[in-house]
């Protein structure tokens, strides 16, 4: 496949950055082994910059690599990000995991990425029925923060309102406790405790996760009902007010647990209670790092 204008712009920015020595590594996308797939690419040499590319198949959130020691050792890093992934970069800066000075953000205007399972069947059209739910509620088609911006050639995503993103959340909320219980018991029963959700998450960066602590062992390591529920609850809770909704956990889950139904529910709750949305402002304090004397008090006797 020939280079598109987007690709050329990306490659030029990357080349300039590497040549001038402003960054020593660029993380971006390149074409995968077939036309429906993109894969991450790590560029350290100028001549490799020609391989950079972007398309509506670039589903991965590359910000996940910023937490890895192998990547951090490069010091100054350039990263190609969509609007949603860029929020993860912001959240990492907010939480002092990376420094704004050490990162060059190459923002790509994105009008939605095609669901991987649909793309694999040959779908190339970006429309409301083919993109992820996160794209339907996306308000950051152009990243909120960037050093370079690459405009999209793709047509804007048209929303008719017929496809309701995360409609399951409302359905679940209207259920009785017993029904919710049965729904989640059934979902978590599938969990095999592979922790792919954690590994794929750009914001799960603890060097020692709570599940790996064994004195005391808070969360059962075997994959059975009670420990599965506990793990999924704590994972969701540790991300509440932080999750930026990239949906990588759900995409990584080998048994298709609808994790975004939990993450999105928490994001809605945090917004309703504290008016906070994660990853929009690098100068904002994380919502659970601060408090207000007038916080929500109704549930306390």
């Amino acid at each position: 496949m020939a280079n598109t204008k987007t690709d050329e712009k990306l490659q030029k920015i990357a080349k300039d950055l590497l040549e001038s020595g402003e960054v020593s590594l660029i993380i971006g996308y390149t074409k995968g082994s077939n036309s429906q797939r993109m894969r991450p690419l790590f560029v350290t040499r100028t001549e490799d910059a020609d391989k950079l590319s972007f398309s509506p198949n670039a589903v991965q959130d590359l910000a996940v690599f910023l937490k890895k020691a192998e990547v951090k050792k490069f010091g100054k890093i350039g990263i190609v990000v969509k609007g949603c992934d860029e929020k993860a970069v912001n959240a990492l800066i907010q939480e002092y995991q990376i420094s704004r000075d050490n990162i060059k953000i190459i923002g790509v205007e994105c009008n939605g990425v095609i669901r991987q399972n649909i793309a694999d069947k040959g779908e190339t059209n970006v429309s409301e029925s083919t993109v992820y739910d996160k794209c339907l509620i996306c308000e950051e088609h152009i990243p909120v923060l960037y050093d370079f911006l690459v405009e999209s050639e793709e047509p804007k995503l048209v929303l008719s309102g017929k496809v309701k993103p995360y409609s399951e959340i409302a359905r679940l909320e209207s259920m009785s406790s017993e029904e919710k219980n049965a729904f989640w018991a059934n979902e978590f029963d599938k969990c095999i405790k592979c922790y792919a959700c954690r590994q794929a998450c750009p914001l799960c960066y603890c060097s020692r996760c709570i599940v790996e602590k064994n004195t005391p062992q808070w969360i059962d390591t075997n994959s059975e009902e009670t420990g599965n529920a506990q793990w999924n609850l704590i994972r969701a809770y540790h991300l509440s007010g932080r999750c930026i909704g990239c949906g990588e956990c759900e995409r990584a889950c080998p048994v298709n647990i609808p994790l975004m139904l939990i993450n999105e529910k928490m994001a809605i709750d945090v917004y309703n209670m504290f008016g906070y949305k994660s990853g929009l402002d690098i100068n904002a304090k994380p919502v659970f790092g601060v408090f207000s004397e007038n916080d929500f008090n109704d549930f306390i006797k």
Binding site: L172, E173, S177, E178, E179, K180, N181, A182, F183, W184, A185, F188, I210, W218, E225, T226, A229, Q230, L233, I234, A236, Y237, S240, G241, I262, K265, M266, D269, V270, M273, F274, V287, F288, F291, S292, E293, D295, F296, N297, F299, I300, K301
Partner: protein, 158 residues
């Protein structure tokens, strides 16, 4: 105590509950400075309250990790109470404000996962509120006892 004894004890409550008379175990996580002193006052004043409750003292409500609540459910508790200093009274200045934020969202998450929200309760009880402690515990115990069928959750072993 040996690990084996601990395990045994953890499952006693469940068995009693199954045996007929519903005797639910309730765990109260309280802060050292206000609620524990309040409970102490209730005791030294010879006030009577339900003996279904087991009190676990921690430095501050800010120390009470939501994981503790889940752990209590997992070990068979039918109700969990978290209680600490009134807003503005925290011994560590702001621990209770932070915990209030945490619990507001955590409570929603528990409800979303199908835990009956009548089974978790939060209260502010100061060191001088022995009366309030007694009424909070008694009301909570009555509530839990009145809903034996609604005590399922996905954290307890079936």
């Amino acid at each position: 105590m040996e690990d084996k004894d601990l395990k045994k004890e953890n499952h006693v409550d469940v068995k009693v509950a199954e045996a007929g008379s519903y005797d639910p175990r309730i765990i109260a996580f309280v802060c050292n400075w206000c609620t524990y002193s309040g409970a102490d006052l209730a005791g030294t004043s010879r006030m009577k309250y339900s003996d279904n409750v087991r009190v676990i003292k921690l430095p501050c409500t800010g120390r009470i990790d939501p994981l503790f609540i889940v752990e209590a459910f997992k070990k068979g508790a039918k109700g969990v109470l978290v209680s600490g200093c009134h807003p503005g009274d925290c011994h560590y200045t702001s621990g209770n404000y932070h915990s209030r934020r945490k619990y507001a969202t955590f409570r929603d998450l528990l409800g979303y996962f199908g835990v009956d929200l009548d089974r978790v309760e939060f209260s502010w009880v100061s060191a001088s509120e022995g009366n309030k402690w007694v009424s909070v515990i008694n009301e909570f115990t009555d509530k839990i006892k009145s809903m034996p069928g609604k005590s399922t959750d996905i954290f307890t072993k079936k």
